[in-house]
């Protein structure tokens, strides 16, 4: 975890409301593990003080990148920044995905929308190649398919409006794959990042089919480093549950530890 002022190398629109931002961060880049995030202060933001958290998408040499969707004032201000402008980032943060051991489980990645961003490093660094199940509302919400394919992964896309890939929810092809007795995959393990309802559905599938699963939880954050207790989610503890911090104990949790009854 370092706090650094970094320079923007590029900041370009990818599709629709999605942008890719690359920053030069030589001290941070080598430390990054799959599933970790950066907490970004967007200086031009007027009278809005807090940092914004973004999964780290790719790492290349002394740079790292994020893939973000403009949804509010912070991401919109970010999208107007130019190469050469500076940002303050605290990174890498959080407890990321467990990268599969050589010869161990085959990873099945499940991503919704910008959840894809958290997955790339995992796919890249996993010794086993698997399948990426990616879902979104419309065609434009399906991100970087080609990039996963060029890593040698199979991509199965679903859209709610059927404008790309299969029509439906991302969990449908996932279920088919898991239920498929003919499947080539012997020991699957799920890794998911996306909206909470999707994570919950993945958690249920994992439980029902007794498949291990790691979920990257999306909670509002404030400090990003564990001091403010904003980002808590209910985690089982004995017969009861306790609040744990998404920014510190997470964002990645073991699906079987999440006490869904307490999740909003």
């Amino acid at each position: 975890m370092l706090e650094r002022t970094v320079q923007i190398v590029s900041n370009e629109r990818s599709t629709d409301a999605y942008y890719r931002l690359v920053v030069r961060a030589p001290e941070i880049a080598p430390l990054i593990q799959p599933g970790q995030f950066a907490h970004v202060r967007i200086a031009p933001l007027k009278d809005a003080l807090l940092r914004r958290p973004f999964s780290i998408f790719q790492v290349q040499g002394d740079t790292f990148s994020i893939l973000y969707k403009t949804v509010g004032k912070g991401t919109e201000a970010l999208s107007r920044m130019r190469p050469g402008d500076e940002l303050s980032v605290i990174a890498p943060l959080g407890h990321g995905f467990t990268v599969p051991q050589p010869g161990a489980e085959t990873p099945l990645l499940v991503a919704g929308g910008y959840g894809m961003a958290a997955m790339y490093l995992l796919a890249q660094r996993s010794p086993q190649k698997g399948i990426v199940f990616v879902g979104g509302r419309r065609r434009v919400d399906i991100l970087c398919e080609a990039e996963f394919q060029s890593l040698g992964w199979q991509v199965r896309a679903t859209t709610e409006d059927g404008s790309h890939g299969e029509k439906g929810l991302v969990t449908q092809p996932l279920l088919e794959e898991i239920r498929n007795p003919q499947s080539a995959i012997r020991h699957p393990k799920l890794f998911a990042c996306g909206p909470t309802p999707m994570l919950k559905a993945v958690g249920q599938i994992a439980e029902e089919y007794k498949v291990p699963a790691e979920l990257s939880m999306d909670e509002h954050m404030c400090c990003g480093v564990g001091v403010c207790l904003t980002c808590v989610i209910p985690i089982k503890s004995g017969d009861d549950w306790e609040y744990q911090r998404t920014c510190s104990e997470g964002p990645v949790f073991d699906a079987k530890d999440v006490a869904w009854e307490g999740v909003k």
Partner: protein, 304 residues
């Protein structure tokens, strides 16, 4: 140049600490800044038993500030001593422990426990949290209850006691005086301000707890006035806080009567703030030819 100040018997190498609840238990920030440069580390509020806290969402961003209703989640006295005290004890800078309870007796019991622990810098009595049903602000908006809490803790410990007052009163002077008379060594002014925000698309509150406490730069002018009013009312030192972002903000609090200051919300977006404040304070003293930081305290000149 002497930056050291005294809060009761507690000596701080400089007048800058952090506000309870905005700095965890210190250890979380150890990688990002040199804790040993602070005047003191102030930890998140602790009661006797572990506390789960409020449901989420617990914070919301508002104009030049934020709302929070954490609900004082915490590990309780034992959990704190086990998980966090070894680290804090090992630091050369003192720890101020923020404590609370739902009864006068619980405050006293927590004070006794920390007294017995040994090595604690000071106890800060949170009688002003707006986000819990029992305890907190209930004690801070009733002069008699406030005096009872302070007296009970005074009997329980010889540690320096800092009473953290509520801003949500018509006039802070009687509360400041009540705390002083009951034996408090110092005051902390101020806690967060009761406030609320609504998401107009869903018509739902932005906090699960409906209302919460407003903090950050937006409350600074209110906090400055409270410090000044408290300063005029008592002789004991005051730790000023509320929206401090820069050395200039901290100096404004010192001039209004604070002996020390705490950086709160700013830690969340700029963890280096407290260190920047210390550096800026040094520069200011140099520029103005001041040798003692204490000379700044209360140096505000309201008259002609």
């Amino acid at each position: 140049m002497n930056l050291s100040v005294q809060i009761g018997r507690l000596v701080m190498q400089n007048p800058v600490t952090v506000a309870s609840g905005t700095f965890g238990y210190g250890v979380e920030y150890a990688q990002l800044l040199d804790l040993n440069q602070l005047g003191a580390v102030t930890v998140k509020g602790i009661r006797l038993n572990p506390v789960r806290g409020n449901p989420t969402p617990r914070t919301a961003e508002v104009t030049s500030g934020m709302l929070n209703a954490i609900g004082l989640q915490g590990p309780g006295v034992d959990g704190f001593i086990q998980k966090y005290w070894p680290f804090l004890k090992s630091l050369p800078v003192p720890t101020i422990i923020n404590i609370w309870g739902t009864t006068v007796e619980e405050y006293a019991e927590v004070a006794r426990r920390f007294h017995a622990l040994g090595g604690v810098g000071a106890l800060e009595l949170n009688v002003s949290c707006p986000n819990i049903k029992e305890g907190g602000a209930q004690f801070g908006t009733d002069c008699k209850l406030l005096a009872q809490v302070v007296s009970a803790c005074r009997k329980a410990t010889t540690l320096p006691i800092i009473t953290k007052l509520s801003p949500n009163v018509v006039s802070i002077a009687p509360y400041a005086k009540a705390a002083e008379d009951a034996g408090s060594d110092a005051l902390a002014v101020t806690n967060s301000y009761p406030a609320m925000a609504i998401d107009i698309e869903t018509r739902r509150p932005k906090l699960a707890n409906v209302s919460g406490g407003l903090t950050g730069p937006c409350i600074k002018p209110i906090a400055i006035k409270l410090v000044w009013e408290a300063f005029k009312a008592v002789k004991i030192p005051i730790i000023g806080m509320g929206g401090i972002q820069t050395a200039a903000d901290a100096i404004e609090f010192l001039m209004a009567g604070a002996t020390a200051v705490a950086v709160g919300t700013a830690n969340f977006y700029e963890p280096q703030t407290a260190l920047q404040v210390i550096a800026g304070l040094r520069e200011f003293m140099q520029r103005k030819g001041l040798n003692e930081v204490r000379e700044i305290t209360g140096s505000f000149q309201p008259g002609k």
